[in-house]
């Protein structure tokens, strides 16, 4: 029981009593049979292949690179974007940023930055937690290398780095890897809407450009 708000307990007891009355003394509780697919029938390489294919399907741009080439790949992508001010979460691996051009302003996120400050960032680079191949999804859990949720929301361009060991085939394989006590964001392509004639259009309030770099070794 939380704060003593007058009426709260009466409302609570009333609703719970109504539910118990509605169900009767001995409601039958059906068993849940999980006959759906919970694992994967694909080889690891095929899982990564499917992930790349499905992420691309939703108009995110997919790049593949080895660990050694990652800093160069990242530098090339950022340069091509034309962004001058790039945000990164506090825990992002410094080694990834070693080849960025000198005139680029790299801002490490700080708790004191308010939304207006985040709005000055043109691009954000983060790591990720899990990738789901079947649905082309990336999950962020706000760990130090991914940053708080606002950091990957306010800037218009998100570059997200994922390693192959983070990629699973199906949704049921992904959930046990996630920690529900963390704030989670599942991302499948750039922001989109189907609100005009039920046709999908990319680019509304969330980042309008999404790049995914798969680190292959």
């Amino acid at each position: 029981m939380t704060a003593a708000v007058p009426g709260r307990d009466i409302a609570r007891e009333t609703v719970l009593t109504r539910i118990r009355d509605a169900l009767g003394p001995d409601p039958v509780v059906p068993e849940v049979s999980r006959d759906y697919v919970t694992g994967s029938d694909l080889e690891p390489d095929a899982v990564v292949e499917r992930f790349a294919e499905r992420v691309d399907d939703y108009r995110a741009t997919v790049h593949r690179t080895g660990h050694a080439e990652l800093p160069a790949t990242l530098a090339a992508l950022i340069t091509a974007s034309g962004a001058g001010r790039v945000g990164v979460p506090v825990g992002l691996d410094y080694a990834w940023l070693t080849e960025l051009p000198d005139d680029l302003e790299v801002v490490r996120d700080q708790p004191t930055y308010d939304t207006a400050a985040l709005d000055t960032l043109e691009l954000v680079v983060t790591a990720s937690t899990v990738g789901i191949a079947e649905t082309g999804t990336i999950v962020l859990d706000a760990s130090p290398d991914q940053g708080r949720r606002a950091l990957t929301l306010v800037p218009d361009h998100h570059i997200c780095i994922i390693t192959t060991d983070q990629i699973v085939h199906t949704v049921p394989e992904a959930l046990p890897r996630l920690d529900p006590t963390r704030p989670l964001t599942m991302i499948s392509g750039p922001s989109a809407t189907s609100d005009i004639e039920l046709d999908r259009v990319e680019g509304v309030h969330g980042p309008r450009t999404l790049h995914v770099i798969i680190v292959t070794d």
Partner: protein
């Protein structure tokens, strides 16, 4: 038709013995057990009742060729998309079966699971509130917003807050609510009403939306075209500043997980993420039926919902949060658990599974009646097949008496429903309940009452229902006649004979809504 019998004296003290007009307490004859006092959504608040009956409201829509063209185009698009992405899932039927079982299981354990959710949300720093009805929920939210000192809120599309007319309640208290979902924005700017669960502005085409934006958005580019990408861009520009400065966000919830206290919003545009992340205070209003028991259960619904809803393998954004996360997102979180007639639905064993609905809107998109009549004709914020069974149960049948007839019983809704809600059977059940209610007032059993009771008996049992469906499919073939009897089936075999003896049975899918309506409910149009 069976309401779980209940022993005398189980009702809450403040309810026992007094029955407000909207409480459907059935007359209890001497010597029978007392039925539970069921409390429907109150009158005079919220958007569950239309101003006119379905046939009257549908008449305008049926005459509006532009509206019918818009709806026809949009529903055809989404039907194709859904069919394609559902077709690629080999275990779709197993997922549907599990989805239904999880929801049935949830309803049976609802008191325990709700208190578990409450404990987990509270432990994670959230505050849980309980609202018996729309009025109480509106009061709670209004008070919470007032306490922040903010005079405006940003909102993510939520059926629950539409149902209780929260925006109107906030406006009465001098608080402005800004809808941020593109379709909701279109509805709000046009001073219009939502007509679809997923896409409240489905009745408008791109040219109409362009005209609306040009007229109502301050500082909009006069060269704005009707290209959907340009229209989405205009909405982005319009709402950006609002998001970045908002102090209070209000959302609904797609799912709440009892064993972790996690809440979830499934969306596309990123307006949900904005409202859930940037404000200092977040208030989530959720029907008491929206929960699932375990974290693992999400693996089923995160597969079923996007494919059924927008026809995507996964929607662009799903946010999951558990109470308050230090240094990330709102530092004050309130969860309002809403009854507003849901316990009345739960009390009716034959209608209970209506609460399993995950609001995907697939049943709307395949419904021949919805496609012709449009969403506004249903009066309530819940249109289409789900609305035809949910609204009358939330309000009591007498307040939405025409809705259970707003269907051809073709069964398409049942086939697409990701949680296998048997909508046709519930429609027939509600028709029988309506007839029964009329009979009780008139004290004379009508022919309609007798025939509907027979139909209800058929629908109540799976094998009987299948036989009847086979019969009606045969009827469809028979019905392909070019004479004046086309569209009518003179008699059905077996238990349905009693129904067709009193009136011609509808020839289910191939009939036009207009023909069917004229015949089926012609008497009171």
């Amino acid at each position: 038709m069976s309401v779980a019998p209940q022993e005398r004296g189980k009702g809450a003290p403040q309810e026992r013995g007094k029955r407000a007009p909207q409480e459907r307490g059935k007359v209890v004859p001497q010597g029978r057990t007392l039925l539970p006092v069921v409390v429907h959504a109150p009158r005079g608040v919220g958007h569950l009742r239309g101003d006119e009956s379905f046939p009257d409201a549908a008449r305008g829509a049926l005459a509006d060729t532009q509206l019918r063209r818009n709806l026809g185009h949009a529903t055809a698009t989404i039907r194709d998309k859904r069919a394609k992405v559902v077709g690629e899932v080999d275990d779709w039927e197993a997922l549907r079966t599990a989805g239904k079982a999880i929801k049935d299981h949830t309803m049976a354990r609802l008191p325990e699971l709700l208190t578990q959710l409450e404990a987990n949300v509270t432990a994670a720093g959230g505050v849980v509130h309980w609202a018996r009805d729309a009025t109480e929920a509106n009061q709670i939210v209004t008070r919470l917003v007032a306490e922040t000192g903010s005079r405006e809120v940003v909102k993510v599309k939520s059926m629950a807050t539409q149902e209780i007319a929260l925006n109107e309640a906030l406006a009465d208290a001098g608080i402005e609510a800004f809808e941020t979902d593109l379709a909701e924005l279109i509805v709000q700017l046009g001073d219009d009403k939502p007509s679809h669960i997923l896409v409240p502005a489905i009745h408008k085409n791109r040219a109409e939306i362009r005209e609306l934006f040009a007229r109502t958005l301050p500082g909009v580019d006069p060269e704005l075209t009707d290209d959907p990408a340009a229209l989405a861009g205009a909405a982005r520009q319009h709402l950006r500043e609002r998001f970045l400065t908002a102090k209070v966000g209000i959302s609904g919830a797609n799912f709440a997980v009892a064993d972790t206290g996690t809440l979830s919003v499934v969306e596309s545009e990123g307006n949900g993420r904005m409202c859930l992340t940037l404000p200092e205070t977040l208030i989530t209003v959720m029907g008491i039926e929206k929960l699932v028991p375990t974290w693992q259960d999400l693996e089923v619904f995160l597969q079923l919902l996007p494919r059924s809803s927008t026809g995507e393998r996964m929607n662009p954004y799903t946010s999951l949060w558990t109470g308050v996360h230090e240094g990330d997102g709102p530092q004050s979180f309130h969860l309002v658990l809403l009854d507003n007639g849901r316990t009345a639905v739960l009390a009716d064993e034959a209608g209970r599974e209506t609460l399993n609905c995950i609001r995907c809107s697939a049943c709307l998109n395949v419904c021949p009646v919805y496609e012709r009549a449009g969403g506004h004709a249903y009066g309530s914020v819940y249109p289409g097949p789900i609305g035809a069974i949910l609204s009358p149960q939330l309000t009591g049948i007498e307040d939405n008496a025409s809705l259970p007839y707003a269907s051809t019983l073709c069964g398409a809704c049942y086939e697409v429903c990701p949680v296998k809600i048997d909508i046709p059977s519930i429609l027939v059940h509600l028709r029988a309940e309506h007839v029964e209610a009329q009979r009780e007032t008139r004290r004379v059993p009508t022919a309609e009452a007798i025939s509907m009771a027979a139909a209800s008996w058929t629908m109540a049992d799976a094998s009987r229902w299948e036989k009847a469906q086979t019969a009606s499919r045969a009827g469809r073939l028979l019905g392909r006649r070019r004479d004046k009897d086309a569209g009518r089936i003179r008699s059905l075999p077996g238990p349905l004979a009693a129904w067709t003896a009193a009136r011609d049975a509808p020839r289910p899918p191939a009939e036009t809504f207009r023909q069917w309506w004229a015949r089926d409910r012609g008497a009171d149009t």
